[in-house]
Amino acid sequence: MEILTNGVGLSAVVFFPLVSALVITLIPKGQEFLIKVFALVSSIITFVFSVLLLLEFDFSSADKLQLGNKISWIRSINANYEIGIDGISLPLLVLSTFITVLAIIYSIEHLPEPKSPKGFLALILVLETGMNGTFVALDLILFFVFFEIVLLPMYFMIGIWGDRTVRTVAGFKNQIETRLYASIKFFVFTLFGSAFMLLGFLGLYYRGNKTFSIPELIELGSAGAFTGTFATLVFAVLFLGFAVKVPMWPLHTWLPDAHTAAPTVGSVLLAAILLKLGSYGFVRIAIPILPEQAKAWAPAIAILSAIGIIYGSLACLAQTDLKRLIAFSSVGHMGFVMLGIASLTPIGINAAMIGMVAHGVITGLLFFLSGSMAHTYHTRDMGRLGGNMKLLPKTGALLGFTAMASLGLPGLAGFWGEFMALLGAYNPLDGLNVTVFRTSMVAGAVGTVLTAGYLLWMLQRVNLGEPSEEWMDKELHDADAYELAAWIPLVILTILIGVFPKLIFGATNDAVIAMLSKAFGG
């Protein structure tokens, strides 16, 4: 269909949620049902659009940017509205639209306090615009705009609907409400990173023939246009911007707080999509435009990833807060993704791609479950939980399954990201320090054991054993239809990707190989 291939369809995927959010603001506050149905329908329409794009996508040339368009936007600085997708962005785009649908399904019955579906759902849809936009943008300014759009809804979600408990924070004299602390930390952290990132973009703009177009810059970059101190600096600031978002150790500390404080849907979207914006940025922008610098920085990234894996897993073992544990597990899992990226080999980056999707699906589900449990029990303290399998059998069974998926059980989605990342790290790109990478690989492998350790320990504390007296006479509600409707698709996806990784590799492999051969030759 013409409308799908000429960029209109892609723009629709990006802007339809935004338009829907605007329409939602026009619906009177009292019409909650209408608001919910409208939000759900528009998210589903967006998803259907993305599926149509998926069908229209030419997988035989997945390495080429497709279905896009280029329209002049801000002529004075030669910034264009340039969009398009290839095998790298396609899975993430579809994942983003898909997870949003599930998030909205979940929100229909499970709105966080203070209940205000209008604002909440509108924010989710705005968030979706930001996420989808980042994945399709092929212009640095456009990318930056979408990258930043994501911040605001998330900030408000955490700040308004977040956890209201008051806690002490290291270094602060006064106690502070968790949600305030977390939201500000999240906002300032990411803004800090992206401010530098913008500097990097401007640097590329001035050195690179005054263009913001990513494909053009890639051509320039692979031709060796960016060299020397300049390029090192640019890569450093890009690294900072993306690494905060991933988040890489030691820039990760906003993540546990944000996840703990965020409402369920917020943490799901944060884990499932937002974190991917950072790693996607590496694959889409940092590495292809600045290949030589990427090569120079790769050992450092690998070491930081390895530290992140071990550190995140160890930190998990010390947690008593269920959501905080899962948040730290994200640090570990994204460490695998970054380890894969750092290897700069087709195997490693493919591993990172499937790792991103798998982490989105699995950790998204984990946050769904933990959020629902926190809602049911009114506590996230694992010391007080226990016997969840008895109290909430469905939730418990799913938690068990998801924990297994998260620890990288072969046959489920999480395995490929971990194993292939290690595979990639064993033999990094020619010229990289093999010792560093192999050490990181071993560290990553040890990390898988620790991952299994904390997840099983979590299961033992939360799921197994006899429930404590505290819950005996309480009426606890197991997962209802909305929750199951939001979760089961993720379970199915986890199994499908696990059994048949071609679902992801089929799209990414050609694109990754093409990207790397352009960047590093051969």
Binding site: V169, A170, G171, F172, I184, K185, V188, F189, P250, T253, P256, Y311, L314, A315, L317, A318, Q319, T345, P346, I347, N350, A351, G387, M404, L409, P410, G411, F415, F419, M420, L422, L423, Y426, M441, V442, A445, V446, T448, V449, L450, A452, G453, L456, W457, Q460, N463, L464, G465, E466, V499, F500, P501, K502, L503, I504, F505, G506, N509, V512, I513
Partner: protein, 671 residues
């Protein structure tokens, strides 16, 4: 589905056929249990037998299929491989598939037979237990996972099956997860295996990257034909793979999970922790045997060393156990040590032969123990005794199992153990040979002790035990037949069919085949076994220890060391697990909140302080004063103007009309 084009692989003269349609459809063996598990989960609860019928039906189909494969294999000799591409990554093809050759068919048969009997047994054994349906789900899943593992033509699928059986083991060990001990045991099993899996994973990575393929047959081909390519990494890869095998096959010092795994229901112990799952390590070593043999013979020595240590160490611990299942568990560890040591000595067939016989008689012993435990409601042998009279069928079959394990002719264990000893002797490993003979003696001794304490003497427990249901004794009797006869398939000089079965592979197996009985090994093993039985019988029967249940040979401090299992668990907990779980992780968390977070918060505070300074001095007193002045001017002006805003429409109208008139006059007369 791609059929593997193997023009170079068909080296074994024993291959006559590619198995035809039966081999081609072997994938159903693997897929069937998973489908069944799905059905049991969702509709099992509503069926008359709570899902057990689906599980049984499935496993019966698998059994029949494996018997047919076995038949066609024995008559024709099958070796073929099939691949399905599930994704490409870089230049790597990730493939699943199934391999139908002697080794895998033998494993299919073992898994199918033992699983079928255990399933039948379990329907009765688990009756009335909680999560009956889920138990069968897990058990069926296990059967599927095990088949994934043994049918694997690629290393990646091995890894998948490897971990899947680990998960099923986790689920089943922790079946009674209400008690923390059980879930801890399950965790211990999983984590220990996961640690070992690091080795397997890295080993696979090394092999895959150095050969450029994940197909086992190609790796084996390269390792037998292209010495240069792999020589640098072969030793490391071999050791790493062996570390993986050590985990699953419970080799010292990673065996600690297996005895704890007895927390699971007895059928689980019989199926997984005796007959099938624990042999995965041996299977892996056997599968990769040509690689070890041609590329890393030094690694084989290490394999053998660990096997021998295990067979002796675990056997010694088995002597002091009071828990019937733990005796059998350590015995399993010990027997696995035999198999691993046999692989290490280069006796491929002997190891697999022992795997084969052991699967049957150890399953028999476990099921017999389960029958006893079912009757007396206790695991402890101190609360048993004298069951010979009340449980004749169980007793008879248990004795058959014991004798088979002790290695007396013509029972199965005799032939397989003898072949291992003969191979040690042939390789000239004298020390190891004598340790293995010692092991045989110990084996016979502790089994006699167990039988004495359990079946002989007077009953010391509570209640009135009685013989188990037919559903439980029938599998016992069937397995007893196997325990007797399964050794007869490989009698040197008489009939060596088994050797042909398992060496029928695409890659040629180079090993020593004894033409006839090695009389020295045979007599040593036999004497050791008889001595063991005799000593046991003397100590526990004639001395009457069985009457009181206490042991007469408590030699401090050896006994203490053995009872504490060489302090290995203490060591692990004290020096590895607890530090990580408590100290290091807490430290990391503290580091996170107190160092990184404090730094971040400090930055935030400094920023806000700086902001305060800027705000108070520069902003408020400088810029803002100016702005305030201008704003106060606006304010006072507005205060006056606002009086015009009375809210009265008439005044507004007046002003408006006055304006209209004025402007009209201006336009008319002036401009």
């Amino acid at each position: 589905m791609v059929k593997f084009d193997a023009n170079f692989l068909a080296e074994t003269e024993l291959v006559y056929t590619d198995g035809g349609i039966l081999a081609e459809f072997s994938w159903s063996l693997v897929v069937l249990p998973f489908v069944a598990a799905l059905f049991i989960t969702f509709i099992g609860k509503y069926l008359p037998y709570k899902g057990a019928e689906i599980a049984l039906g499935t496993i019966a189909l698998i059994f029949i299929y494996s018997v047919s494969l076995m038949f066609i294999h024995i008559t024709e000799g099958v070796a073929s491989e099939f691949f399905v591409n599930v994704g490409s990554i870089g230049q790597f093809d990730i493939e699943f598939g199934w391999v139908v050759d002697g080794l895998s068919i033998m494993m299919y048969f073992v898994v199918g037979t033992v699983a079928l009997l255990v399933f039948i047994y379990a329907t009765n054994y688990m009756e009335g237990e909680i999560r009956y349906t889920f138990f069968f789900t897990s058990l069926t899943l296990f059967a599927g996972s095990m088949l994934v593992l043994v049918s694997s033509p690629t290393l990646i699928q091995i890894l998948i099956g490897w971990e899947l059986v680990g998960v099923c083991s986790y689920l089943l060990i922790g079946h009674y997860w209400e008690k923390k001990d059980n879930s801890s045991a399950a965790m211990k099993a999983f984590i220990t295996n996961k640690i070992a899996d690091i080795g397997l994973m890295i080993g696979i990575i090394i092999l895959a990257l150095n050969t450029g393929t994940l197909r086992i047959s190609e790796i084996l081909y390269q390792s037998t034909h292209d010495y240069e390519k792999l020589s640098k990494v072969a030793f490391a890869a071999a050791i790493l793979l062996f570390i993986g095998a050590m985990g699953k096959s419970a080799q010292f010092p990673l065996h600690v999970w297996l005895p704890d795994a007895m927390a699971g229901p007895t059928p689980v112990s019989a199926l997984m922790h005796a007959a099938t799952m624990v042999t995965a390590g041996v299977y892996l070593l056997a599968r990769m045997f040509p690689f070890y043999k041609s590329m890393a013979p030094e690694a084989l020595d290490i394999v053998m060393l660990f096997g021998v240590i295990t067979l002796l160490g675990a056997g010694l611990i088995a002597i002091v156990q009071d828990d019937l299942k733990k005796v059998l568990a350590y015995s399993t560890v010990s027997q696995l040590g035999y198999m691993v040591a046999a692989i290490g000595s280069g006796a491929y067939t002997a190891a697999l032969f022992h795997l084969w016989t052991h699967a049957f008689f150890k399953a028999l012993l476990f099921l017999g123990a389960g029958s006893v435990i079912h009757a007396v409601h206790s695991n402890s042998m101190l609360e048993m005794g004298g069951l010979r009279k009340v449980m004749p069928k169980t007793f008879t079959t248990f004795i058959i199992g014991t004798v088979a394990l002790a290695g007396l002719p013509p029972f199965a264990g005799f032939f397989s153990k003898d072949e291992i000893l003969a191979s040690f002797n042939h390789e000239g490993e004298t020390t190891f040979f004598f340790i293995a003979v010692l092991g045989a003696f110990i084996t016979a001794f502790y089994m006699t002790r167990a039988v004495s304490l359990t079946f002989l003497g007077e009953y010391r427990g509570h209640g009135h035990p009685h013989e188990s249901h037919n559903m439980m004794t029938t599998p016992l009797l069937t397995l007893a037949v196997f325990a007797i006869a399964s050794g007869w398939v490989n009698i040197p000089g008489v009939y060596t069919g088994f050797t042909d079965w398992v060496t029928t592979r695409k890659t040629k197996i180079v090993e020593y085949h004894p033409e006839s009985f090695d009389l020295f090994a045979l007599s040593s093993g036999l004497i050791a076994g008889l001595l063991g039985i005799g000593l046991g019988y003397y100590l526990y029967q004639l001395q009457g220890s069985a009457e009181t249940g206490d042991d007469k040979i408590k030699i401090q401090p050896v006994w203490t060391v053995l009872e504490n299992k060489y302090y290995l668990d203490h060591f692990y907990f004290r020096f590895i697990i607890d530090p990580i779980k408590i100290n290091i992780s807490k430290a990391v968390d503290k580091f996170n909140t107190n160092v990184i977070d404090r730094f971040i918060n400090g930055v935030g505070q400094i920023a806000s302080l700086l902001g305060g300074v800027v705000y108070n001095n520069l902003d408020q007193n400088g810029i803002d004063r100016f702005l305030n002045m201008s704003s106060s001017g606006t304010d006072s002006f507005g205060g006056r103007v606002k009086l015009l805003q009375t809210g009265r429409t008439q005044q507004y109208l007046m002003l408006f009309l006055g304006g209209v008139v004025t402007i009209s006059l201006l336009i008319l007369f002036i401009i």
